[in-house]
Symmetry: C2
């Protein structure tokens, strides 16, 4: 590991987990951290999320050789501008945001010198839980998860290699792709699922004929699976949808077409079309389990009832 001093800007689920993972797997690395919320800074210090919680972002960044922004996508540009003067010339700038094209643009505008040096390399660890804030992080969050790194074409290759090594040290597998392709992939594997989950939980809350208490009581019939991701951080998700608008709308269009086809099959009573669709979606879950991206136990292993 070539990084000696890592600054983490934003000490929620992701920032906190990176700090705890550094402590666990890279104990020789010094970590500093900052969060604009004083209560989060206080809690971060209590939990020891980073070696030193700073009172200003400049102080956190001043001696860093790697700065990782762990703030909502819409806050990246402002957060980067704040530390622009303090940031050492040779430092690598990265992030953990779920949309890469918009964040790459925001960081490049805020830190033109680092951009010119190929020293801004955005990344996205595809890991998280429905919890947020300084109490949500844990060192094992990135174990066996993928971290997608989206280097610009002129990225500094030494820094790219160091960033890859860093994420691997935290337990992640690293994949490189373009920011544009990342945004399309994540639109379908993450952004559209969240939008759908937020929608159906809202729909179920607003019915007149079925009470909210009934929805809660009988949620084990399937609904509860959607409520987990619909409990995710609203600020972050607002920013994701605004930042990856084109790809999300594109995927949503395809989803709506497919839903309309199934709706029609139900309306006309086409049992064969329904069966054929339902039978082929089983295979993808088997693959997800085979590749270690989900739990093989029934009900995600909830309650460990087997």
């Amino acid at each position: 590991m070539s990084f000696q001093r890592i600054a983490i800007i934003g000490l929620g689920l992701l920032g906190g987990s990176i700090g705890l993972a550094c402590k666990a797997y890279l104990p020789e690395v010094e970590t500093t951290g900052y969060d604009r919320d004083p209560a989060t800074r206080k809690r971060a210090a209590e939990r020891g999320l980073v070696g030193h919680v700073c009172e200003t972002p400049q102080e956190a960044a001043r001696q860093a050789d790697l700065v990782i922004f762990c703030v909502p996508p819409g806050a990246m540009g402002d957060a980067a501008r704040e530390i622009a003067e303090a940031l050492p010339a040779g430092a690598l700038v990265s992030d953990v945001g779920s949309c890469k094209q918009s964040i790459a643009r925001a960081l490049a505008e805020a830190l033109p010198n680092h951009r010119a040096g190929g020293a801004i390399i955005p990344a996205h660890p595809v890991a998280g839980t429905e919890n947020s804030g300084p109490d949500a992080g844990f060192a094992e969050l990135f174990h066996n998860r993928w971290c997608i790194v989206t280097p610009p074409e002129d990225a500094n290759l030494t820094l790219l290699t160091q960033l890859t090594t860093f994420w691997e040290a935290l337990g992640a597998n690293v994949e490189l792709m373009s920011a544009q392709h990342h945004d399309l992939v994540l639109a379908v594997t993450s952004h559209l699922p969240h939008l759908i989950a937020y929608t159906i939980v809202g729909t179920a809350s607003d019915l007149e004929e079925v009470t909210r208490s009934e929805v809660i009581k009988y949620s084990a019939g399937g609904f509860r699976d959607f409520t987990r991701i619909a409990a995710s951080d609203p600020t972050m998700w607002r920013d994701v949808f605004l930042s990856n608008k084109e790809a999300v709308l594109e995927m949503l269009q395809r989803f709506t077409e497919d839903l309309t086809a199934l709706q029609r099959a139900i309306r006309v009573g086409d049992g064969q079309a329904l069966f054929d669709h339902f039978a082929r979606t089983r295979a993808i879950r088997r693959s997800i389990i085979a590749e270690g991206q989900d739990d093989a136990r029934p009900d995600f292993g909830r309650g460990d009832h087997r």
Copy 2:
């Protein structure tokens, strides 16, 4: 417990779990079982899902004082007709299907004498996993889950009390409601979520720009939550959508309206509308956890990483 001999017709996840739960919690009760698939009968006998696996449904039903149909909704009528001659006059007939109006009609048509005696009382334990078949069942499936009983207006009250006591003995909480209301409630808490999950998993499988391998690798971003219920039994779900068509189409219409509103908010960049929607859906998950209908641990407790 007043039932002495229980016949279980259909030995998949639900039938097998009822058999195992009887063995565990009602050891004095004799159980017989039948499944039309010889391989399922063989496996049911090996696992001891019921006391005696019969070669014909008539043999299973002949001495029963409670017959529970655990076959897909569309197969209930035929299964009931098969045992009509063998069924003792005083026996209670029930089931576990996810649509109650259509099943009540099918059972009543097949067993007019029992219908006349108020001895057909449909029920629906809101419990299950994504697994199916004779290997999927387990005795604890109904623990702290709700069982909805939908008695017709002229139901025999002694039999109704006995059925309630039976489900409570298996660990369930019992609620009574009309079949019509049940079908509306389940349309939103179970049927619509399954339809949405089947749709999005299909959409993700069919993209040209994003490979199936990418969808699987990066599924931890949210998509994998949908794949669990989209791995459920296709035959059963085909029947559910055909049997509860009106309520499902009604809920689907509302979902589509809500999705269109969020789509518009994304398109016009209305961050406040998105934030407001996302913030209010958190509360419902907290309630589901508070009422013991889901696991409070992050990620449903998958991998137990905390």
